[in-house]
């Protein structure tokens, strides 16, 4: 209920797999404003700079520029959007790198349904969030919350 009364955060989602956007709308439309979708890293970089969304959802693997590269450049250019990586990569090295670049969250695509909204909320509140990794993946960056 709280969410409805507060300012509606604006979200930009960058992914080269368009089917994900249908989920995005279903998940986010009630509480957030979808500022736009980007289909590759370059578009994500441009829209990130022009739209200045509150939250930028970035896939790691995208044409032209990967998500980590986009995040690096946006930070260099002074973009203040919170960045959450949304990816299938459950590699702990990726998670580590993502947070070292200043990411606010790391959500596995297989856990979007449960983890995305908490991750966004955490980010907006100034915390970080990481999806719990499957048992076979050892990571040092679990439970950053």
């Amino acid at each position: 209920m709280e969410r409805n009364t507060r300012h509606c955060p604006r979200i930009l989602w960058a992914d080269d797999f368009p089917e994900i956007f249908a989920h995005a709308e279903r998940l986010l439309l009630n509480d957030y404003e979808i500022a736009g979708f980007a289909r590759d890293g370059e578009e994500a970089l441009n829209l990130g700079l022009t739209l200045s969304p509150d939250i930028l959802l970035l896939d790691l693997s995208m044409p032209i520029l990967g998500g980590l590269e986009v995040a690096t450049r946006l930070k260099e250019l002074g973009c203040r959007s919170k960045i959450i990586f949304v990816t299938v990569q459950d590699d702990p090295d990726c998670v580590e790198t993502a947070f070292s670049l200043g990411a606010s969250g790391y959500v596995l695509k297989s856990r979007i349904g449960t983890d995305l909204l908490p991750a966004i909320d955490a980010a907006l509140a100034g915390f970080t969030f990481t999806s719990p990794f499957p048992a076979h993946v050892r990571t040092t960056s679990q439970e950053r919350r």
Binding site: S61, Q89, D90, T97, H136
Partner: protein
Amino acid sequence: MAKNPKMPRAWPHFAIASVLFCFLPCRVGEAQPKPVRRVLIFNEVGTAYPGINLMDQGIRSALHTSPYKLEVYREYMDTLLFPDPADQQRFRDSYIRKYQNRQPDVIITVGPSPLKFMLETHRSAFPGVPIAFCLPNWGPGTPVLDSDFSGVENAFAPFETIEAALRLQPSTKHIVVVGGAGTHDKLLEEGVRDRLRPYERNFDLSYLTNLTMPDLVETLKRLPNHTVVLFTGMAQDAAGTKFVSGEEAIEKVVAAANAPVFGMNDINLGHGEVGGKVSYIREQGRIAGDIALRMLNGERPQDIRRVRDITAYMFDSRALQRWGFKESDLPPGSIVLNRQPGFWELYREYVFIGISVLLAQTVAIVALLRQRAQRRRTQTALLRSEEKFAKAFHQSPLAFTLASLVDYRFLEVNDTFARYAGWTRDEVLGRTPLQLNLWVDTNQRTTFIEQLRAEGAVRNMELLFRSKGGRVWTGLVSSELIEVSGEPAALSLIADITEAKRAEEARRESEGRFRLVANTAPVMIWMAGLNKLCTYVNQPWLEFTGRSFDQELGNGWAEGIHSEDRENCLKTYFEAFDRRERFEEQYRLRRHDGEYRWIFDIGVPRFEPNGSFAGYIGSCIDVTERKEAEEALSSVGRRLIQAQEVERSRIGRELHDDINQRLALLTVDMDRLDQSGSTNGFHDVLQEFKDRVMEIAKDVQTLSHQLHSSKLEYLGLAVAAKGFCREISEMHNVRIDFTQKGVPRNLPQEVALCVFRVLQEGLQNAVKYSGTDHFEVDLSGTSADIKLRVRDFGRGFSVDDAVGTEGLGLVSMRERVSLVKGEIVIESKSMSGTEITVNVPLPVADPASQVTSGAA
């Protein structure tokens, strides 16, 4: 040579005609009166001028043959005496009036002014009267006239006249043209200058045409030697003095000139002028008269062709004699005037009698002389023979000496010996070789003399001599012991072979150098002669085949060729040899250890310095290793394809046998759940399905990661390498010590991929084959290069064997590294482990843009 063919012959005819003429008139008159025709002749000047006179003679001689009774009127324009145009106009008017009522039937003009007069007035004053002209202008050329005119054109041949003069006086260096200053003179001079231009280059050509007669006379007296004078005519000198008769001028010129005077007109012949190719004035007159007659006979002037070039080579015999010119030097067909009868013509009979008496005496004397001549011939033959031998002795290119063997003095030497020895012949004669310090080595002298005395001859003995100047030269000496005036003497023949010996030594030295180079060269060298047979092989060849030099000569070398290659090898060689072409071929040649090695042989024709073909030279190298490497390389492609197929089938199997099966099983389980309709434990089952799906997703990701490391792309080489080491370590339960330092984050993708693949291949091989569980991986970088070292402490292997076998690992590592211009070193020793070191240079980039993974 024609003897004045026209003029003297004309005289008898004229004489006979004159006699007949005395008798004819009454008979002709009685029979039939001839029709009257009027001939009007306009002359340039009066008959005091010899040209006009000669011309008139010619005209008259032609008109004599006319079938008409002719009334001949002569008028004179007198242009030299009355040059004023007003005077001339008055003359013209008066002539026109004079003949107004007595129109001529034909007009003859002699000279340019009458012709001009007619040209301007004939249509009004003498309408329809045909006009025959001669001397139409002062120079050569063709006047433009209408159809009432025809005639004879002037011809001047100054060029040919000078040519004739040069034949007579070949030493000529100066040509002086003498002419007048009058208008006509100048016109003529222009034509002459034009024609004589070709002589300007080779002769000193000058013109004395603007002088007063006294000055001219003075100048002509002092002409330089080797001069000829061409007199073109003179009507007036620079002072305005006129020479009316014309002869005056030529006589003065001839009298003054200290050089022969040649001319252009026959007018002046007989006045001291030598002659030349002269304008034949009288003949021109005759032709003009002839043309006038044809006009009288009714021929239209335009149908009568104008006549040109009436000239002839004419010379005055007295002038020729005066200058000592020979008639035989005159151009062919020349006419010689004024010839004096010769001695033969005057005293022919006396000569006959004298000769008869002489003949009788001669017969008697000849008999006596013959006897004496025979004796002399014998003596001469003897002298000649002596001379021949003397010449042979003295002028021989070989040195001859004759020396006494009693006192060793030189009795005779030829000039060649004197030249060799540096002494004059006179210095040598009478002295001994020792006195002349000729012997370099007195031992040689002793040997030479002893052998000569003992054997009576010495053949081709090489002896050293010293010439006067100290030069030491080598003589090849052959001597014969002979007897001269009862005493023994040595007749020696000596050839100076110093140069030949030097050349021989140089050749030997050069050959020695060649052999040294050939034997130390790291290639096998062979040579063949003109007959294709081997004449030389170098030391490396012999060391390779392990055979002797003699065994390889001729066709021996070919015995070592592999029987399968021999026929082709020899065919290539022989065919190239016949065409004198370079050839290259490969064949197997037996090495000293019996192994056949592949030989690469290049042969080229060689030529002597004079360009003649001298055979072949060739060099060979053992290319067995290279050939094997080529073969190995050619098999790489095949192995690559095989490897690709193996990899595909692995992925295929993985997808089909594992992932696909598990998905199928999952579908079956989901169907079963659907059909059971039970909701009991639904949530648990769903959770189980979810876990299974995520398991499959994870395996697909692993497979994809093996094929392509997305980590490498996202996180860079250092992180990816570290991750890989960790994975391997966990997978195989081994210890991998990974260190990294200063590896730039944004490496070029191909460099990062190359190093990563080498790491994958190297580490996987090490884990698989080394038999140990401890490995080291060091990755380090600078802005200039990236270094990777993968090391194990296992059993090691033979690198050479590994490359040659089916495995692609080492080959593909090397290929990858070479593609990024890097270096890879694989060191492995049995039981000491293996170390792979890769060094890849980085392209120069802006250092600011390099972010190291350490900082990330």
